[in-house]
Symmetry: C2
Amino acid sequence: MRVGAALLRTEGPGVLSLREIARRAGVSHGAPRRYFPTHLSLLSAIARSGFADLSEQVWTALRAAPQDPRAQIKTIAERYVRFAATNRGMFELMFRHDVLSSGGELGLRDVSLPLFHLLTDLVAAARPASRFSARVTAAAIWSALHGTAQLWNWGSLTLATGATDPTPFIDATLAAHLGPEGRP
Amino acid sequence: MRVGAALLRTEGPGVLSLREIARRAGVSHGAPRRYFPTHLSLLSAIARSGFADLSEQVWTALRAAPQDPRAQIKTIAERYVRFAATNRGMFELMFRHDVLSSGGELGLRDVSLPLFHLLTDLVAAARPASRFSARVTAAAIWSALHGTAQLWNWGSLTLATGATDPTPFIDATLAAHLGPEGRP
DNA sequence: CATCTTCCGTAGACAGTGTCTACGCGCTCT
DNA sequence: AGAGCGCGTAGACACTGTCTACGGAAGATG
């Protein structure tokens, strides 16, 4: 099989054993070894494609969104959390420590960093005066997004607040960091 | 062995195979089965003890901290992130989806919910006027803390901002949600 | 005191896993 | 046409989690 990309529509994260993947691909259990020296490197490749997918979704959404910084930040935030909620298994795989630490931080450096820098610039343009640098604020927002996605995904936020939608938490985070919504 | 508690000082999360745990405990590989019907239930028990540990650390730190709401919130935040940084393997185990989803959400309901409600009350007392409910704000803060702990743990924040300490992100988050520091 | 039951651990089997090795088919290139 | 090699197969190995049958020690019961 060309890449593990064709196998990404894994129905669950439990099917990700090397032999099971090979089985679904219709090849013998030794075949993937030609392309990926180890099981983890296969998973890393799958996760990397997940990062690419996420970043592409965010970028295209950004192009379609209004151009003012605040709206762009909101678009990033919503896309990030929605991606996590829609592609649960993939999101979980993408942030598994063992997968992450192998493969040279996989997509983090190549995919997330440009996005993070964009976020930093947007934050610098959108936020009110603050004693924190735009980098720190952007990182805090990113952390909040990631935590929201994570907690939302396994239902903790629903359990704690009864919410049926994660957007209020996103809005609260952005409003806190950038000031109330509604003005340029 | 009485509980897996004695085995918690696991040097790494890779040693957590059932047989390896039994080996370190000096018993045969079938012995743990008397107490934990399945491997996952053993891990859940270990993770549960991790939740208990975390919550205890937070509560005792709260007792020693100044009593004004803002300082209490900061104490919770710092303890949470510090726990994650200090007990990496345990933190990771505690939030593994498969461990989480088994064992009836293990410590989440029993341990985290009281803490969350306390956080909600503190937020209600400490924050300025806002159009978001205290619940939502508290949940947003919690998400931010969790995300910070996670991203910090695998070095993303350092990679993105060059920071050597996670407290700036905590401070930025709290300042954003609760207003600048320094007043009652 | 003898016996029986119940707890708690052992030891072996089984299917399944990731990795490694030897093997062979079929293509391409000179 | 023949050699080389990319790409896949098949079997082995150590290891895993789960299941089962077995044993021995302790306490309860007659």
